[in-house]
Amino acid sequence: MDEHPDAERDERVLVEQARVDPSAFAELYRRYLPRVYAFAYRRTGAAEVAEDITSATFERALRNLGAFSWRPGGFGPWLFRIAANELVDHYRRSVRAGSPRAEDAARRLQAQAAPDPADEVGARDAVAGLLAAMDELSPRYQQALALRYLSGLTPDEAARALGTSKATMAVVVHRATRALRRALTVADER
């Protein structure tokens, strides 16, 4: 996550501490909370849902910290992978709850997102449409696009978060983008 070796070493020490003393997890939490929340908010557009996703992400990370093995890139990609999985689960549940209504609700939530100036409404709607179309993609494609574009991670980090190489990530993102384009076309035709 951190490009500086010192910062990465520091983070590794923190993770090791958090394994034996889970209260040390609080430091990692404070470090990553804004970014994980921003990731969830960008994907969902709703503060309450973003809070739910953020809560579930950190709780799952805490419970599974014993199974985390340190890799280059550090703790962040692992955490964002959990967040991406939580987002996929969230949308899977939404679809199960009733697709058309869930979609409408999601669109309404998007429309209610952060009060923006009037001249940004068009852009916001476009983003909302894009995110709604993402719901139609396979979980892996959703994860790839979200991690690559909405998480604030570098391409390297996003690839690590997805558990692939950078080259594979590029291929998955390319295919996901193509699938998203098709989903948008279908949505426009409706």
Partner: protein, 374 residues
Amino acid sequence: MNDDIRRRLEDAGRQPVPGPDPAFADALEARLLAVAGTTQQAEPSSRPGRPGRRLVLGGSLLAGAVGIALLFAVASGPARPVVAPELSVPVNVEVALADGTVLEDPDGLRLPEGSVVRVGPGGSARIGDTVLAPGDVATVEHGRLHVEHDPPVGVVPGGTPTRSPHATPTPTSRTSPSPRPTPTATAPLVPSGSPAPTATPAVTPTRPPLPSSPAQTPLPTRTQVPPPPTASPTPSPTPTIIRPRLRARVLYAPTRIRVTWTATPDAASYALVVSRSRLGPAPRPRYPDGRILGVFSYPPATAFRFRVPDGVVEVRLMVVALRADGTVLARSRIVTLAITPPAPAVSATPVSPTSPAPSASPVPPSASPVPSGG
């Protein structure tokens, strides 16, 4: 065309994002610390910095298998399956939900996955056949209840100065059904990592558990078919469905909402739906699309409280009575509460310990029921 999509995705990634609500951040941190405490005690054998993930997984699986075997072998183990973990007769109990919401003494709450129940000084509660004592922490994981029977840090066994003289005696047995504690008083719960509240708005003087006079508004009971809340007895049975009568009011320092409602005949459960706003009016609470604060098996015998994050200016609540199959039986009217923190000059204690219980006022001044209209 792909470039256009990519550009739009990049735009989406650059959208300004408001920071997380500080109250949410604090609540989640406190909750994680609580979870960390229980996780650490439950899994003391995890070795730090172990690179072999397969070994860790194998060890975990083995430990899990042993745990399951022990669970079946020993009926009184610390983790026991609970079909529907339901909190009952809580006194000085905090329940932290997975989303960070904190509820105080939510009688009848069906504990959702990930909820953490903490019993404060002088408190008690029951979940199924498990009786919780002061200092106990119970978590719901994968539908199972895990209880840590540990004394709270800094609490002297046998009572504390903060304990109310009306506090319920600590249950002596954890597993055998003991007489149900009467929630006559609620001592302030002191969550770890947060300053102790200076005011004790929840302390209620001794009062009868059931209404003693016909003029008094009936308290909700656990019977499935209670009398209508205010209507006079009718000579013939009426086919109309009685909607739950929701009552809520705001308590301050810290800002909380105190909630109770009356029962609806034939209701199998009740969903409390909440919406809130930091700017302008709160949206209309919706079921099942809205935020469901909790599902309760019965109306709380005494009002419970839940905390409101800082910055929220309006909260709207609605109770939905549900049938056994989950369909909606009746909805309460929507109650709208304006959150207006008292001026600093005003005393920090909103309710004097000698004044009547807050629930004595039938219609709170800050609550304005709005016809739900369906």
